[in-house]
Amino acid sequence: MTSRWRQLTHGLLFISPWVIGFSVFYLYPFFATLYYSFTRFTGIGNPVFTGLSNFDGLVHDATFRTALFNTCYYTVIEVPFSTVVALGLALLLNLNVRGQAIYRTLFYIPSVVPVVASSLIFVWVFQPSFGIVNSLLSDIHVNGPAWFFSITWSKPTFILLGLWGVGQPMVIYLAALQGVPREMYEVAALEGAGPWQRLRRVTIPMISPVILFNVILSLVLSIQYFTQAQVIESPPGSPGTSTMFFVTYYYQQAFTDLHLGYASAMAFLLFVLVLIVTVVLLKTSSRWVYYENDHR
């Protein structure tokens, strides 16, 4: 046995749990989903091949278009906002403020609150008549909207709920900021760079790989937004269809209506969407992401 061969068998032996898991829990079901997306299937009996009819149906499905729109709406606003807020808080905490640990803890705590609990809390905080937000608004003579129960405001309220959990990326950005060598700021200051220039020319480039990683992760999660909407809105998707997100509609098609072929077609489109977004981000990242040593 050559040593190269031995190395390979050893390596594969150690990763074999994952290889099995990958084949059974990812590879097989992924291709099965792809196959189902070309069939009519209710889970009982065999799938019936119907060609592209599911995709054709989706193109003409108004609810699907709404779900796609709602998901894009949420993603396009939530991801930039939460990135800017997380980065802003991290920069603020990085200014050597006294009591940094206390503030960091206060900003971080909401992101350890279980997702169902935080959903319940927000329903109550934004409750139209007795919630604290509308009560505070009425103190300054503003008539607060119905938030989660208003067609116009439901999605923005979910975005606010998302922003409350910004502590996770904030901690990551803070760690990255603390890793930027102090000398770089000193050199920049010596060369006459003001605070704004130091931020744009030193800080942001230095932590840009971390920003990229977190933006991709939060994009992928936002596109699959589901849990909070499912907990809060009853019936799911209400009021109107304003909180019918992509996965909300998928869940309804798959587990309520048992349109498994149709739902699989949706799942496949979601995969394509995530893939496009990730590839575009990675491809354009070379313009704004800076890697210190180029051998990544």
Partner: protein
């Protein structure tokens, strides 16, 4: 900068931070305050922030009307089993991806990382059908078994990062002494990786505590509900009694917040490592 300007700048920073902290803390204060109100007090205008006297009975009443103790126990069982699965499989896989050199290793590692961005719906229906054939629907097996097969990419990644920081000379010395790889893994590397394992255990526990989607899909019997599903139940059942809803939310949140304070260092480092070394 003059001292006066320094003080002013510092005051401004703190003013901004205090206002922001208040905004982040408000929902939690409002939650705990409401959980001590009577049902009527919760629906009183102008609002009461902190009731007087405190109504403690919401908690025992809630626990008496819903099998909350069961929900907690179910969650603990779910967490315990998956923690075992993750610790075994992720450490083995992480070892294979870090302490051993073999052709194609990094390419396979990237494939593993890519599964993180695969939407869960892309595998859900075939898996559901598979579990149905196996008779697993209704129980926790669909959520537990995959963790024994390296399904927690996050944990594997975190352990790999840690394993790579252990000097290679340790393994080399053991190999010269004739130790096999499994011995090196279990007797040398794992004992050194205790801090990283602690992080993995902590995050897996929180993952289970939080997990709503998995149980929503697979658990059907109310007695088998984990905390997350049980909690969502109160909103449906007692929409009008906000004091109960908030008592439930507080009961679900408090243990995790306490855990956070007890393990703050592990916590923050764990997040920072996985988030910045990507």
């Amino acid at each position: 900068m003059t001292t006066a300007r320094k003080i002013r700048a510092s005051a401004a920073k703190h003013a901004v931070l205090i206002v922001l902290s208040a905004m982040f803390a408000l929902p939690l204060v409002w939650m705990v305050g409401t959980s001590f109100k009577t049902a009527q007090q919760a629906l009183t205008l102008p609002v009461v922030w902190w009731p007087h006297p405190l109504e403690w009975r919401n908690y025992p009443q809630l626990f008496a009307s819903l099998p909350f103790v069961r929900f907690f126990l179910n969650t603990f069982a779910y967490a315990a089993i998956t923690i075992v699965g993750v610790c075994i499989s992720s450490s083995l896989v992480a070892y294979g991806f870090s302490r051993l050199r073999w052709p194609g290793r990094d390419a396979v590692f990237y494939v593993m990382l890519m599964t993180m961005i695969l939407p869960f719906v892309c595998t859900l229906i075939p898996l559901f059908i598979l579990y149905k054939h196996l008779g697993w629907i209704g129980g926790y097996l669909p959520l537990e078994v995959p963790t024994f097969f390296g399904s927690s990419v996050f944990s594997t990644f975190l352990l790999r990062q840690f394993f790579m920081t252990i000097p290679n000379s340790l393994s080399e010395a053991a190999r010269i002494d004739g130790a096999n790889e499994f011995y090196i893994y279990s007797r040398i590397i794992l004992p050194l990786a205790k801090p990283a394992m602690a992080t993995v255990i902590l995050f897996q526990f929180i993952y289970c505590w939080n997990d709503y989607l998995g149980p929503l899909i697979y658990i059907s019997n109310q007695n088998d509900y984990p905390l997350s599903l049980g909690l969502a139940l109160i909103l449906g059942d007692y929409t009008t009694n906000w004091a109960w809803v908030m008592a439930g939310a507080t009961a679900a949140t408090a243990p995790i917040v306490i855990l956070f304070f007890l393990t703050q260092r592990t916590f923050i480092q764990g997040i920072a490592v996985t988030g910045t070394k990507g």
